[in-house]
Structure formats: structure tokens, C-alpha cells
Amino acid sequence: MRWFNTENHWGAISITIHWLSALIMIWQFGLGLWMVELSYYDAWYHKAPDLHKSIGLLFLVLTLIRLVWRRNNRIPKALISHTPREQKIATTIHYLLYMFLFTVMFSGYLISTADGRAVAIFNWVQVPATLYGVDKQEDIAGVAHLWLAVCLIILAVLHVLAAIKHHFFNQDRTLKRMLGL
């Protein structure tokens, strides 16, 4: 397998980032829902949110790298079996996925930095606050973070359903191609 994408194949880097992003997204969604229910005396009460924030910020870095990589690589051509309508829907969903990924990450950052405090990546890098001090910022950003994440998951489910449809019903190479097969 090549590192770069080709006219008909996804390269190793694109494939790795794609599946890694999928795993991180599901992990973050689960961790996020779980951590807010922890009791005060739970050993994970502080560890879980710290982990969620650290991974979230690294995920942002990964997604930025992904966009740079995408811009500097050719996008494999759509399969012949994909109808123009399917292509259009797929592209729209892809753009929405990116959009929601960024808004979810940004709203999360706005919760943690609402009072001007920095947010840490594993006690390693302190990411400073930029937009803070807006009245009830942490509450507004909190509601946005949850519901944008729910929308992101719904979009991802549609994306998965489409892949399943192509694999089992159309029996084309859409999913195989993203697996590097």
C-alpha cells in the first residue's frame, strides 16, 4: 500500500487517519457521556474529564493534519457504480462531518476555557483560552457541545449505513477501498 492516495486507492495515511478518527470519535462520545455521571468520590471524577479534554485537543490536531493531507493529495475518483446523486449526498455528508467535528471540538474548548483558564493536554501542553468571559459561556458551550456531538454521531451513523449499503447491497469496493483492500 502506498502512503499517498492514488486515482483509485486511498493511501495508508488517509486510511489510518480515517479509522483512527472513527475510533477516537466513538471513544470521546462514550467517555463524555460517562464522565458527567460520575459521583464526586469516584476515582475517575477528575481523571476522566482530563483525559476527554486531552484526547479532544489531540483529535483537533489530528483533524487539522488530516485536512492538510487531504489538500495535498488527490482524492480517489468515485466508483463507477456510484450515481451522481449518491456522490452528491456522500460529499455533503463528508463536509458536514468535518464541520461538526470542528464545532464539537471548539465548543468543548469553550467550556473548559470559559473563565480564562488554560486547558491541558496531559499536563504536557497548556492551550490558552482565547474567547472567554462571555456571560454563561460555559452553559451555552456545554449545551452546544452535547447536541453538536449527537448530530455528529447521527451523521457518522448515516455514513456507516451508506458504507454497509454499498458493501452488501451494491457489492462494490467502497468499503474495501477504505480498508486498503
Partner: protein, 192 residues
């Protein structure tokens, strides 16, 4: 001439009589010479302090009949501020104050008794988190008098201990953190 004298006397009497009547005071929240603060033990090892930034209220106080004093204070529960946005978000949530459902807390006095040495006992009904309970606030009558800008001010400070469970706030913060101490410092400006 006699009439003018009478009118002047009445006017002077009226002017001097005003301070002797039961006076209404508005709590000086605009100038922030008032505070609603709280402190609660953290794990039993230290104090966590915070305050409510938005509230208003008024009281009446008559030096001749101090026991007829009345006070009412309204607090915007969403204005809770513990100097940590993430904690404030949690305190506003369903786990604690549930401010979207209970946006206001209210204290209305039912009795006021002076005990000498500028001390007083204030009883009243506190509505918090949708629950109304009788509470007792130990007050200090801090002082009163004219201010340098033509007004007249009177101030009190008091504290009371609230048990969170009494107000249906059941999130467990540990055995040392079941009660919260409220501290109130109010300065009223007499209505003109």
C-alpha cells in the same frame, strides 16, 4: 406673617419627622455594597467559597419599632460564582441548583428581634431549589447614618447554616459537605 411661620414650622417638622418614621431601604446592589456569599467544606479539608452575583431586595427599619422590621431578598440562582466556570456550570445543573427549573431563590422575613449590642435574630422563609423552609439568620446591625452624597444608609451582616438535603439538593459531596454556610452583608439606601 403668622401663617408663614406656621407653614415654615410644619415644613421643618415634616423634614425632621421623616427619619423617625419606618423607612424603606433598597439594598445597594447597583453600587455592590451588598453580598450573598457561601462557603462549604471541601472534603473536610478546606473551605470552598463562592457568591451569588445577582440579587436585589429591600427592607424596612423603624428605630422606634425595630421589631417591626421586614426584609425581602431575591437571588438569581444562575449568577452563582465560585471562580471556576466548569464548577459553576455543574452547580447550575440538575445535580445542584437546577437553575433552569428554579431560576430564583427568595427570602422573606417573618420576624425580627433585637437582642441588644447591635445583635438581632431574623427569622423568615427561604425558598431555594423549589423548597420553602423556615430559617434563622443571626444578624449584626453594623451601622447607619448619612452618606457623603446626600443619602442615608443602614447595614446589616448575618449568617446562617443550610443543610443541602433540606432543600432537596441530594448530590453527595461527602460527609463533611452536607451543610453550607451563607453569609449576607447588606447595605440599604433609604428611599427618598
Amino acid at each position: 406673617m403668622k401663617n408663614y411661620f406656621t407653614i415654615a414650622t410644619l415644613l421643618i417638622m415634616f423634614i425632621f419627622a421623616v427619619p423617625l418614621h419606618a423607612a424603606e431601604y433598597d439594598i445597594d446592589t447597583a453600587g455592590a455594597h451588598a453580598a450573598v456569599q457561601f462557603k462549604i467544606k471541601h472534603l473536610g479539608y478546606s473551605w470552598l467559597t463562592g457568591r451569588f452575583n445577582k440579587f436585589d431586595g429591600h427592607f424596612s427599619y423603624d428605630e422606634k419599632k425595630p421589631d417591626a422590621s421586614k426584609i425581602e431578598v431575591n437571588i438569581d440562582t444562575a449568577s452563582i460564582d465560585s471562580n471556576h466556570a466548569e464548577r459553576d456550570k455543574h452547580l447550575r445543573s440538575k445535580d445542584f441548583l437546577d437553575v433552569s427549573k428554579f431560576p430564583a431563590a427568595k427570602f422573606v422575613s417573618t420576624s425580627f428581634k433585637e437582642k441588644g449590642k447591635n445583635k438581632a435574630l431574623l427569622k423568615g422563609k427561604l425558598t431555594l431549589h423549589g423548597v420553602t423552609k423556615n430559617i434563622v439568620i443571626e444578624l449584626e446591625h453594623v451601622g447607619h447614618g448619612p452618606d457623603p452624597w446626600g443619602g442615608y444608609r443602614r447595614g446589616f451582616a448575618g449568617s446562617t447554616l443550610l443543610t443541602l438535603k433540606d432543600f432537596d439538593i441530594t448530590t453527595d459531596l461527602g460527609p463533611a459537605s452536607r451543610q453550607v454556610e451563607m453569609f449576607l452583608a447588606i447595605e440599604g439606601i433609604r428611599r427618598k
